[in-house]
């Protein structure tokens, strides 16, 4: 199974080894292995229920039962509560966005505490997402879906976390907004953020990622560098059942 983890030139920022995870009694992750280098964008692809979201949750420490190893810069994170993992510099933008309806847009944006130096300033965030600036005082969940997604991404950029876990940031969004988010991811990569992206929409994934992990039944079954995507497209279609 270790063969699924590719050799990287430098020591990986995030290394996941034999990660297993459960929901109550049901065993969902069966040994995930990932390596992500500083400044990379990798995606996790896979069918519904393959365990992509669960992988991100397990890394973030919000899956109640998990085992294996997750290291960030060599520091073991498994066993820590999620608040300590957050403080180590990882941030999750969840599938359902989790915008708080009892908080204003501004409060939502300012909610996550700074965990490290080096986060973006509020000004920089507004530059990236001008829509947010106009709607600062309105209720968080009154924003449109796309704006909520921007808010969800924006608020974790402030914290200084440099490893971002983005779970289907394009789901349910209008195509026009999907393009906007693609541009944002490219910009973040430029600024030195490391990103793990879960996607259904693999056209989109291809346009932003360096590398793709394919997950099936809770295991990584293949790794495809973006550069070699063309050659592997048939294989990928088979994996995804397209």
């Amino acid at each position: 199974m270790a063969e699924a983890a590719p050799k990287l030139d430098t020591a990986p920022l995030l290394a996941v080894r034999d990660l297993e995870g459960w929901y109550g009694e049901s065993h969902v992750l069966h040994g995930i292995n990932l390596d992500v280098a500083q400044g990379e964008v990798v995606t996790l692809l896979g069918r519904n229920g393959a365990g992509k979201t669960t992988t991100l949750k397990a890394i973030m420490g919000i899956l109640a039962k998990r085992k294996g190893s997750v290291t960030l810069n060599g520091r073991e994170l498994i066993g820590l509560p999620s608040r300590d993992i957050a403080r180590a510099g990882i941030a999750l933008c969840p599938e359902e966005r989790a915008i708080f309806s009892s908080l204003s847009v501004e409060e939502n944006l300012m909610l996550p505490p700074r965990v490290k130096p080096g986060g973006l300033s509020v000004e920089q965030i507004f530059e990236m997402f001008p829509n947010l600036k106009e709607r600062l005082s309105s209720q968080g969940t009154k924003l449109s879906g796309g704006e909520q997604q921007m808010l969800a991404i924006g608020r974790i950029l402030r914290t200084g976390a440099n490893l971002l876990l983005l779970d289907e940031p394009t789901e349910g969004l209008a195509p026009v907004i999907v393009q906007q988010i693609g541009a944002t991811i490219a910009m973040l990569k430029q600024q030195g953020f490391t990103i793990v992206l879960v996607e259904q929409n693999f056209h989109f994934a291809a346009s932003v990622a360096d590398r793709h992990y394919v997950i099936e039944l809770g295991k990584v079954i293949d790794t495809i560098p973006n550069a070699e995507l063309e050659e592997n497209i048939e294989k990928l279609h088979a994996y995804l059942g397209v």
Binding site: G61, P81, R83, A86, A91, A98, F100, S102, E107
Partner: protein
């Protein structure tokens, strides 16, 4: 002399003022209840018992340790709040993943236990607790004699209520709390210690009840049943205000105190039901309560 429905306006002012004073207690108790409900989604049936504990602990501090009212004002919310924290850690925290009704049932059981224990220990005749010397006496306002202590109760309650409102609605800490209510997992994933936050919130709500108990001790009979009947009225206040709405609880608390005050003058027999009648009307017209958000 100008009379309104047979009542001199001066007397009416007096009665309104008294209503406001009672409203202070409603406001403070329903505030604590609303804080706990709003942030933990638990209907805290133990609230009345905790109010009673507040008064009793004040009495104990005085009787066993000779600590005065002013000490009680500071210490009691902390002590009773701490007992609330223990309850939250040991029991309530196990119920968050269940239907909220279980929280209601658990706290109902706890209220029975606490009240029963105090009854066994101290009987029900009540304990004497005097107004602190600094606040004895009163001021003649022309239309009524206002005991200094009652004036103090209103001031203290207004300060506490609006302080709490500010804390929850306007500060960063409050934002954490509100966010944690909606989605504790996510807030934890931002690096915040949510269980501690929730525990402290419960402690805080209980502390508010205890503080109301201390304020009540010098003017109401300090006995194990003092909270049992009040709690139902306070529930009604919270329902009218809109459950979970902090401002709703405060304003409705004071407002209903006033309404009840009027009822005591014009229709004293009905003054106990007037709150429930208002509740029925409000629910007919605005099912979510006066200040509640519709789900």
């Amino acid at each position: 002399m100008f009379e309104l429905l047979g009542i001199a306006p001066q007397a009416l002012f007096g009665q309104l003022l008294l209503g406001l004073i009672n409203g202070s207690f409603y406001a403070m108790l329903s505030l604590g209840l609303a804080v706990i409900f709003g942030l933990l989604n638990i209907i805290n049936f133990t609230h009345g018992a905790q109010y009673m504990m507040g008064a009793f602990v004040a009495w104990m501090l005085l009787t066993y340790f000779g600590l005065s009212y002013w000490w009680a004002l500071v210490l009691v919310p902390v002590i009773v709040g701490a007992s609330g924290i223990v309850i939250e850690r040991l029991m309530i925290s196990r119920l968050y993943h269940l239907d909220h009704l279980y929280g209601l049932l658990l706290t109902f059981g706890l209220a029975l236990i606490i009240q029963g224990l105090f009854r066994n220990q101290y009987g029900v005749s009540g304990m004497p607790y005097s107004i602190p010397p600094e606040l004895q006496g009163g001021t003649n306002l022309g239309f009524m004699f206002l005991p200094n202590y009652r004036a103090w109760v209103v001031v203290a309650s207004v300060v506490v209520c609006f302080g709490t409102w500010f804390l929850i609605e306007k500060t960063r800490l409050g934002a954490y709390l509100r966010a944690a209510t909606e989605n504790p997992t996510m807030v934890g994933a931002f690096g915040i210690n949510v269980p501690r936050l929730i525990t402290l919130t419960y402690g805080f709500g209980v502390g508010l009840a205890a503080l109301a108990g201390v304020l009540a001790a010098p003017i109401y009979s300090v006995n194990p049943n003092m909270g049992a009947d009040l709690i139902i009225i306070v529930f009604a206040v919270v329902v009218i205000g809109g459950m979970g709405s902090i401002m709703g609880a405060i304003l409705t608390g004071f407002g209903l105190g006033l309404v009840e005050g009027l009822a005591r003058v014009f229709y004293p027999e009905g003054s106990a039901v007037v709150i429930f009648v208002i509740m029925a009307i409000v629910l007919l017209i605005k099912p979510a309560g006066l200040f509640g958000r519709t789900a």
